[in-house]
Symmetry: D3
């Protein structure tokens, strides 16, 4: 069940049975020579919607642009200032709270978002403590989860891609988009086969260290089949975790 | 061509041929008893992506939550504060400018967004004048267009639905989502057949005036066939208008 | 009755009879070779004060600097960032609400302000919905009206100046300031007689397109006599409209 | 010479002879039973315009709403948050700097504004140091002066009103508005003749301490004649001080 | 009693006896060739802690970076934008209010902070009036005092240093840090013996006028002995003033 | 070498040898019945200053209030909104950058700060990419390290306190303050001996779950001797890590 594909009476009815919602959150940023700019928003969206359909959960619209300043050296990347992201996420949360939602589960697809999501959740709780979320607003609980940290998923990534998984433009994440969009396949000469690894500072430094945008990965290993396995594993874990969160 | 479905080298290549991009922008808000909460984001997204595919334009990710405070009396609506929306749109624009984009065409699906989009564009130009868009940033031109104002579309709406088009939860917009998602059809007893009309103030007042969320409309007239006609008309007009804008 | 020319007991007494106030809002921006920089603040101030005197309405202080980034290429123009204008208008509104005002009628003199005024009103309603306007604050209704859209005024402009009214530094608005300040008359060689027309983007682009600041107008037609007719017409329409708004 | 009563070519010409401008700044707040809500904006406006006319200085539009939270217990008072006032004053300053102004003299009419004006000036200098005022922006100097601190004025106030000058709703400031607007005279029973004195905290506390809004004053002593003397004295001192500031 | 050296049950117990707290506030900025960058935070910290220990008052953590843009031409200076300082001080105050504190006494060590501290206090009161400090928050009273304005201190400064006290990097303030940290003594050739005096504008201008950072002072006169006298005098005055403030 | 205990010429000299600085950052929040409210600011301050003294590094002033909304149910806790903390940290960083610092090492003492520190660093890099850090500003590298994650420290904590280390108000952190301030020792009846564990949501929820403020810890095990071992270990690791960071 997707919020943006529902009518308001359907959400009204849902709220009589559950106060919990999953919100996919990602980014729009370069993912190397053959990865999609939308990879980090698409992966949690694909997983959350599948889980929502299977288990009857409500899935919110996707928060599709995030913290990507370090990728700004590559065309197509869009980034929010951290303060903007906190403001926008808080507006989403305060809106949902007015309708009675009390459990927001943010399914994240971008490591670079983790800190700002956490800061935004602190901001939401701050609004509870200081009364800025509005009078008579129910208490809120949030959790944030990266899809690759769902139970069993990280292990599966390592098993599928023991070499060249890396940390950006990984074969795992690209497999998921290849699975969801089998017609979309990018080709490029990739060299070196496995990208360098290192730290992340600002955008210029990033481009110098990682000339084609990959970090430690060999995304040519990606396949729709691997993507299907990852999605299946992630969906199952998400359903379990979300049910426990919603019931707590 | 969709930005989030492209790789960064593809955007690099695109920028050698064009500095222009279309960004669908809408909202997540109630659309009456049978309309989708995502209607206003989906309509421009559907039209823009179709046009982009046909004519080779680049279509950005969809800005999917907007100015919907007046719909906050209905479950599922999500709204941004105007200052948040201006900050987020400006961040999107400043990111795109860093890559060399000089023409941003915002295809809008929500009347309530019009003012804040315009204020955000003023803010972007302010950044040009006062140098806050960054050194060496090319000048920017934006335009904002509601899809129903594209050449010939308003006339077609009136022709298809001479009675009961109304201004919110209209049969025209719902036809477009019915056309794009033929399997998604909501049913409800709707009464009165044509909703009341009137002004818009705050959320409580809105709910009192428009108890099921519609304004002046009879959305039961919506059909996939009408949606197809509207999309076809809008796509053609959008291609013409965007080409002229990109070339100016 | 002007707020800034009243004592607080007089406002206390007024609030026992009416919860409505008119606030003139304009800008400080170039108005071509012979127009005053204050034209857009002066016109609504002149009309509102006259109406207030005739009909006993309360007129607030004039919000005299607005959205004028596109005129920044001409000396003397002062502009607010949209976010500043929203913050300031919201502060004015929240102050007035604390005293019991429930109807704010913004009489606007500058087309470039329209969007940001509307965004600011959305922000005020947002504060109502989310409780940020303060506890026990009465609901608020705002309306925004450009003086040239008051009933019959636009028609009178066209009748007085069938050729060369244009859209910036118009003979109509300059006639109003000439009528109110008969001793103030600027002279300049104006060429071409009727200024070019076109779109508005940023300040540099504006200056290139409209070298002396006018858009489509021939302000040399302006006269105190025409100004008097316009003010008389506008005042009558404003009284009618404001009475209806205050009573709704 | 008043900016809002000038054309842009006149400002262009002025900038060839001077980079300095006076900006009257005040507030809209209760001034006791017989004082005008606009007193603190009107006094510096009256003095600055007279000085500008006599000596050929440029006088900007009046910043007419300021820091008046402590007067919010009295109807008609309008106040800005300090952060809003800083943002707005900085926008004014940055606009003027773009045109080449390098000396901003803020003539203030409200003691409660002093701190925030000073903070705003710090903010403007911060923009110089950190480059946020824009590239190629000339260095800026500001000064802020309360009209009653102009040379000789305070002494004259004490001489005119040796008893009951007080510190809010003073006979001196009310004399100035009585002089400028001889037809505007409020009457009320005032008791006690001289208002109490004490500290200022929040609005509720203020209303309890100063039930009719006055602090330490007996404004019934105000007269147009005293106002004329004060304005004459202040204008002369302002001309001297501003000339020195502009030339430094 | 220092807040940061206490446990929460100790603060709970304190609040049963007093609702008042002293918060030292200063800056981190150059203090000439031999003054410490932390001088303005250290002086109020030293005085407040001594007073707190003697009289059993609670002393909060030190707000140690303030308004120092004009010193940015000298290495080591750190400055906040005024809007940041207002936001941070308001967060401190709103936190303390939640626990029941009703009297905040800011003991300040930096003249450049005075205006922004006052603006921040206005902001705190604004939050009271407009309900943004949270529901059920007790009313707040703040006072701000520069340590050199405590009763008798200014006189003692003049007596100790009749020549060369100056206004920045003064022998008085440096004496206090010399007294508190007898092992810390900087040496430098200082010329001229007494620094020039003049106005303060932006950072570049400041560095030109005051090449070694001093204004009007001869800090070589500083001594631990003078520091002891100043601290003793200030502590006694602070205890008296704070007791009166806490009891009011 | 401590910045606030240095003169500006000393910082000038330091910058000729190093562009790197350590900034201790913590919080002011309850630490259970016997822990100090300042624990999380004191621990990194103690370690950083010791390391700075030993190895000649520069240590900045301590950022002493952080992200502590979840502790707001306990008296004495002070918290910043995330957006305030980002603004303040960015102001500190931009100030230091103006002087030529290029490496900021934030030594953190509070787990709850981690996300917002990271978001603030993203914000600083954003300012680099978008030019808002000022023209001619050198590129910046930041790192953030929790003191308990310095090489070998976590292992030592576990070795010293195999049972009851917990995650808040831990014997390790309290040992450090006991070592640094041997005269400060709080006593309280603590029950249960080991506090409960669980998740963290808002302040009310926290107080219900953790009635005396501890999470999973038995702080009665703390001792000055353990503190000395921890500080010694941490200092050594910090010197190594900072030297590598400064040299990179």
């Amino acid at each position: 069940m997707q919020l943006h594909m529902s009518s308001w009476p359907e959400i009204d009815a849902y709220l009589k049975t559950s106060k919990a919602i999953i919100i996919p959150i990602g980014s729009t940023e370069q993912h190397g020579p053959i990865g999609l700019l939308g990879t980090d928003a698409l992966c949690p969206e694909i997983i959350a919607r599948r889980a929502g359909d299977e288990a009857g959960f409500l899935v919110g619209p996707t928060f599709n642009v995030g913290q990507s300043q370090h990728h700004m050296g590559f065309a197509g990347t869009i980034t929010l200032r951290p303060s903007t992201m906190i403001a926008a996420m808080t507006d989403w949360a305060n809106s949902l709270r007015r309708h009675g939602f009390e459990r927001l589960y943010w399914l994240n697809g971008h490591g670079g978002n983790v800190a700002t999501i956490s800061a935004a959740i602190t901001s939401m709780y701050h609004d509870t403590t200081f009364g800025e979320a509005g009078a008579n607003t129910p208490p809120l609980r949030c959790m944030s989860r990266n899809w690759w940290e769902l139970a069993g998923v990280h292990e599966l990534c390592r098993q599928l891609f023991p070499v060249g998984e890396g940390s950006h433009a990984t074969p795992s994440e690209i497999s998921i988009t290849r699975y969801a969009f089998p017609d979309v396949e990018k080709r490029a000469d990739i060299s070196p086969k496995i990208a360098p690894v290192g730290p992340i500072f600002d955008a210029d430094d990033f481009r110098r260290r990682y000339p084609d945008g990959r970090i430690g990965s060999d995304p040519t290993q990606a396949s729709p089949e691997a993507g299907e396995k990852l999605v299946t594993k992630a969906v199952r874990a998400l359903i379990n975790e979300f049910q426990a969160f919603a019931a707590a």
